[in-house]
Subunit: 345 residues, 4 copies
């Protein structure tokens, strides 16, 4: 079974791996589409991020959808042939954080394709994936596997929107129009934001954000004053979904927030980000970290599966697994690719 | 009437100023005690902070208490001889933020002794202060004027505690044991925090925090590992009252917070504070700015006036107005002075 | 100028009334459509409700839209010919509740067509209405006046949705499919509720709710077991928008809520409603009253004016002012009329 | 081992029962004091409440403290001779509500002395109790067993205070000065309520509330106008802890709440309580049910064990187990007994 594996320090291979054994309550999924995420790119390019390093061969990938090809006993509700998105979040359901209703902070989380724990948690970029039935969300046939594979990044965004609270009568700014930022635009629209403005430093991602429903796009490289104008008075926006992880983007966005404005930090940045803390104090901003998701995955599958959200503008390129390297290279160029998928046989 | 005035760029003078005219609804207060605050120190030393500069002569001071010596008609509820704390917060009560219940963000705030607006708002370090009756909170005679003058910094802290929400079953860390940090200890105890730990880099302020009810003090200069131990697992504290404004203190404290921990940022820092933003994301911390106060002043006066809070450990030194320079110099030495007051005639 | 007036005890007249004087900052609106609300019906039938009684002649009506026909100086942003919805909520902006950001609880509220204060506040069912420019929300020409007149009841519902907080991943039950219930369906959809079920005792209103986007309708008179099924386990719904004011509807709905479920009570009921309080305790339900609105009116006008919400299914009948009695009679029959409007010349 | 057992329909017996087997991780506690609760009284008098009926012999009791007399392996942290309060709340830690952080709504809760599940969950009024080490909270020797047995009702109250949120600058009304109401007074004081008023229809319980720190008591049977005065304007109190379960008490208290006031319903009432729902709507009150507790038990033990709360005024009478009937009769007379305990050998 072909899998996309990163070997330490960061050697990229498409190689054969044995199929896992299916236990009761599990299914085998023929993975059809896998979306390349920023963390996959970090493993590909650098073998990790921060203090996290690949120390043993690890299958990459956590954004996958596919077709059920085998069902063990006890895997209720699923049938061979079902098209499913697979939730990569596997909390232990027994630690203190799981029991507090915070499974994304599980002390023994086994999230696909993560080198944080030891041994590493193997990922889902492989032709056959054995997983628990409960990880699978089924969807009807008219939704492509690439769209279904967007359930994972959409879940990240839904979790962030939940952190923000109600968007009713809220003016929303989104910084960074990559996949997470673009999904934040779509989600903010879906949950009724009154106004949505999105910024980026490149025109191509902003064009996609427009198709996903933003009211306005600002190319802050070309027109920085357009954002600065929102800082007039004591600022304009109620909520900022920070999706760039870029220090300058954050610093330029904060003045555009009104007093008691809320920042939901989704973008990962370096470990040292210089922030205007006095502005946070004087405006009484609330800077809220948002990390992964869990129960939101089921909602994401419903929104995509029932076409309540049309996320097709996000889909740009799909490469066969044989061309995985090309896929990763393409995923690194924001001007040509929003979300790149790998197609398995 | 002698007043403590700063002249641009930052010349410090004790000089005579004319008495303001008393209008209906107002009273004249003979100021008895004025506490020196960090912002007073900035005007004294640097003529301002950040982009705020003294551009015309300005009376300093916003932490004062005194005795009512004259009462205009319509100043209901007050009598000559009343001992009062004076609320320096004067929002306009008509702008959008006042009407949203956020008077501390008033667009036309006239906070005593502030060079932020133009013309500057004159302060309260003067022998006679004419103010609205509604700014005065009366207290019985057995509370000293120095204690009453603590109503202002206590209000700042009460506002921060309100930002944090309930302290029930919460473990609290306070970084920085200056006047704000020490008051945060007293307030956290009063509002029922389960456990309180306070840090500083000097032993003297920590000794005062112990008298105010903290469970434990950590001298992070001498024993940095003691704080680091709280970072074990995913961290320990639910709430951090950050009262130092010191970059290193903030950075060292964040790992000691548990997932979903709340930081109430009370300390003012430079405009560039390097923060571990990825930690904020991964732990889903909430960093909440807290700025000034308004309605909390009445509560502060009740807590101090009814001796529900005994803040006398905070009082270290009082200088007569003639020795104002000595008072400001003393206020700048954290090892000998916690809160320094100036006594007016 | 013809007006619809109720005389004590509850005599209904269409009569001429003098035009009010226009002051600076005001406009004169030619009222084009006025929606009949439940409280209008109470004045019409009973001369009041509870302890509130019409004690002097009072113009009815608070759901109106029309065309600006005169503009006084200082009425910025409005021009003759503008099509506007008029906000009937006029808080004082100076009392303690206004200053707490709770203008709907204003101690001196002057809400159109209300016999609660003395003298009564005259209403808006008249050919010409003089009002503050700030009460008017303009809309483009392709939205009918009847739709614009729905801004008021939509504001009531938006306020209730705000009380409920975010609808993300929430299952919503709406009891009572009258105008408020039907608008709650539309709003719950707009703000992203995961699932919406609406109940009523008549099929006609439920048919309209279906056109507004509900997932399921239950005729609880015909199929009571369908609602009861949701009580299985510990219940199903996260949020109940109670829009019937009917004791039995409330009592039958509570078991269908899950633990920590939230009831937003929008429907007005008698003063004595027998509730299963032990169920509220055992499930830790939250029963939240929701009363009027204020700032939500601007949002309602934007949602309707920009056609983000299509509320046309609510519009059933329009009568000319000469047939006002017929309009009120029609408005009392839920099977034939959802929202009845009166057209002024 | 003598136990206090209720036999269907409601025959009360003190009888011998076999000792349970101790498993790994468990301890045996010699029960020293057991507090009689309202639900015990219902079983004693009526064999149940509402639809809950004793259908098999059931040991009563869930408020107990005692001494550890045997420790199985794996019962870490406990030693023979430890004085402990025993948490009667035993959620399954695996159902959906446990995993949402709502263990008090556990679908398989095994709360001591409850006839709700089948088979019934046997209670703790017995000479020897085998329980999990994790249920035991140790306390130092200078706290009486009767006081320790108050951990359970205090936990109920702490849970209710948590539901209310921060008490900072809040005016609190407590209706019903029985054990729960009196504990609510003590807790409201501990968590910093600005003002506390408590009502009852008998002077004796109010005298105890005064010793626990209330600012004012109102005997509403003798002086009903004293409570009514708080309804002036739009009402006075921010929070009502409703601890009587009495319809009239609730109805008389609601007008004394200010707009957006919060009712925490702790008292159990009949299944039909006639409430002024229109008042809930017009004032936008929030009526929050509060049911049992879980993690609050550890905090209760700390507050009592460290004498942060002095609850000794609550202790009125202790009877030896041989006089259990007298104890239950005494517990039914509010004028002579606040909290009655049974002493086991």
């Amino acid at each position: 079974m072909r899998s996309i594996v990163i070997h330490p320090p960061h050697e990229f291979r498409v190689e054969d791996r044995p199929l896992d054994t299916m236990r009761p309550g599990q299914v085998t999924v023929a993975v059809k589409a896998g979306g390349i995420c920023g963390s996959d790119m970090h493993y590909y390019r650098h073998g990790g991020f921060g203090t996290v390093r690949v120390r043993e061969p690890m299958v990459l990938g956590h954004e996958v959808a596919g077709e059920v090809v085998a069902v063990a006993e006890g895997a209720s509700g699923l049938n061979v042939g079902d098209r499913v998105a697979v939730n990569p979040s596997r909390p232990c359901r027994a630690c203190r954080y799981c029991l507090e209703g915070l499974p994304n902070h599980c002390e023994a989380m086994r999230f696909y394709g993560s080198a944080m724990p030891w041994p590493h948690v193997q990922g889902a970029f492989r032709e056959r994936l054995v997983c628990d039935a409960g990880q699978c969300e089924a969807a009807p046939g008219d939704v492509s596997f690439e769209e279904l594979a967007l359930c994972e990044p959409l879940s990240v965004v839904l979790h962030g929107v939940k952190r923000a609270g109600s968007l009713l009568q809220k003016r929303v700014l989104v910084t960074g129009s990559g996949p997470i930022g673009a999904l934040a635009v779509a989600a903010a629209r879906h949950f009724g934001a009154e106004e949505i403005v999105v910024t980026d430093v490149a025109p191509e991602p902003l064009a996609i954000a427009r198709r996903l429903g933003t009211d306005r796009t600002i190319d802050v490289a070309a027109q920085p004053d357009d954002l600065a104008a929102y800082a007039a008075g004591k600022g304009s926006f109620d909520i900022l979904f920070e999706c760039s992880g870029n220090e300058r983007a954050i610093r330029d966005a904060l003045p555009a927030l009104r007093p008691r404005g809320v920042v939901v930090q989704l973008g990962l940045a370096g470990n040292e980000v210089a922030l205007p803390l006095n502005l946070v104090v004087a405006k009484e901003l609330a800077l809220l970290g948002s990390f992964r998701f869990h129960e939101e995955f089921a909602l994401a599958a419903k929104l995509i599966g029932q076409r309540r959200l049309d996320l097709s503008p996000l889909l740009t390129l799909t490469y066969p697994v044989e061309e995985a390297v090309a896929a990763f290279e393409a995923a690194g160029d924001r001007r040509t690719a929003m979300k790149v998928h790998i197609a398995f046989a």
